[in-house]
Symmetry: C2
Amino acid sequence: MKNLQIHLIARPQGLPSLDLFQEVEADVPPLQDGQFLIKNHYISLDPAIRGWMNAGTTYIPGMALNAPVRAFTLGEIVDSQNADFKVGEFVNGLLGVQEYAISDGKGVSKVDTSLGKLSWHLGILGMPGMTAYFGLLERGQPKAGETVFITGAAGIIGTTVGQIAKLKGCRVVGTAGSDEKCNYLKTIGFDVVINYKTENIAERLAADCPEKISIVYDNVGGEQLDIALAHLAMGARVVICGAISQYNNAAIEGPKNYMKIVTARGIITGIIVFDFLNRYPEAVAQISDWLTEGSMETKEDIYEGIKQFPSVLLKLFSGENFGKLLIKI
Amino acid sequence: MKNLQIHLIARPQGLPSLDLFQEVEADVPPLQDGQFLIKNHYISLDPAIRGWMNAGTTYIPGMALNAPVRAFTLGEIVDSQNADFKVGEFVNGLLGVQEYAISDGKGVSKVDTSLGKLSWHLGILGMPGMTAYFGLLERGQPKAGETVFITGAAGIIGTTVGQIAKLKGCRVVGTAGSDEKCNYLKTIGFDVVINYKTENIAERLAADCPEKISIVYDNVGGEQLDIALAHLAMGARVVICGAISQYNNAAIEGPKNYMKIVTARGIITGIIVFDFLNRYPEAVAQISDWLTEGSMETKEDIYEGIKQFPSVLLKLFSGENFGKLLIKI
């Protein structure tokens, strides 16, 4: 059986380009004892992929060259030599950009397809949703009445953080890169939205958030993080989730206003979602309930065909995509 | 009665220069009810003074122009219209660079002269000692066996932090700007000392601290903070105390490696010593005990004459001084 894969053949300097990727038609080898075969249905395109493309280890090692690009996928088990993983069950995990994947179950999670749309398990019920949930609730510790500021709020993580923060009684402020995205954020309950391409964020915060920011949920880094640090309330928690403004820069720009955390008596911390692996079921069930009862919603941006992976990935860094970016195979 | 004062007459751009200061001979006005007159004996020269010279409010408002430079002093009450503050008692507080100060008692603390040398109450038993004590113990939460990395370790805060960390069973690593300072740090118990002017800090940490750093106590900022962030142990606490490498820069350089706090599952926090005002007596008593029993020591660098204040202040920023910098009036 043939297995179409997208390989990474060279590491990016700065912004990734299409020539770093190569289509490879591999064979699916026979299953060993304990293994099972997954037919991927969806591939998740996440900013984290950019970090994994670099050589060297951060919280996990960089991805290998001349192998399928590391990405979360969701698929169906179509053959199995493992009694714990049965044909017909659905799983997600870091199974790579390929039509078929073989796993021994390590790092792979079963998906309860009754909890929501299949593709949601790579979005609001998957890694990004878990990152939002635990990053906000565990690291941010929101209290009703506090103001939460979310940079890059129109992404899957930002929209999830914002909606959970509203459910917890917070005032929610977010930045996004287009009026269309800002308008959407308003429809899902954001109190204040700021178009970072056309508006002055510092002036908007001064005007619309005199109470200052108690929680920063930062997906962007750079200037937006600096402005947030200059508007902290006393005891603020700054949760670093990502730095999409910086991922493609050779020289990262550190937060010039980092000393503001001292005067605000705050903390800067971060979220690595894998630390909460054993609590995913609780979060998936809770978010699923919120979706079912209509107190939360999620937006997807789905492209068809695995060969489109490189070009669709680039949309993440141009700010072009809107909603959880997925490829349906 | 005449009162010689040193005024700030203009705000610095970058490094302060002598022409920002002016000697002014004022009159001591008669005391109002509730006031008392202090004859200053010692003036404390601290890096924080540089921050206070700027316009605008941080944790306290910037100092006023055409008034005595804001500084901690220690003096003796020589006249009083306040029953709580008696002639002959000693006090310290932000009383300014002048021979005499009038106070109503607000923000002024009595000094128990039995607890140590008079000048120590501006150093290891004063604001810098309190900053070291609460910054390390409350913000850093040191546990025996952990490694503590102190930037700018030869200053009064760094030497106090290092010695307390040793008393708590930690491994202590510090940077300083001369071999003389490094040698001194070894004599007071530092396990590893690094001359940041002649040695590669990153290489030394890699070689001498394979266990990584659990607590960073940062007085310096800039490159040293970045190197520290790249060497964090899991669960590290980064305590921002100062940023002497940055105070005179128009454009602050933020920590490029700030995302390392995410992968280390650590926190960046800070210390504002005034938050612990009501716990100073406990810390003063404890440090005094340690000094008395010989398990701690402190070094002073004392100049004579209030007129020297501007030129002595500049030594702070050149790295020239060694030991707690004071002026004896």
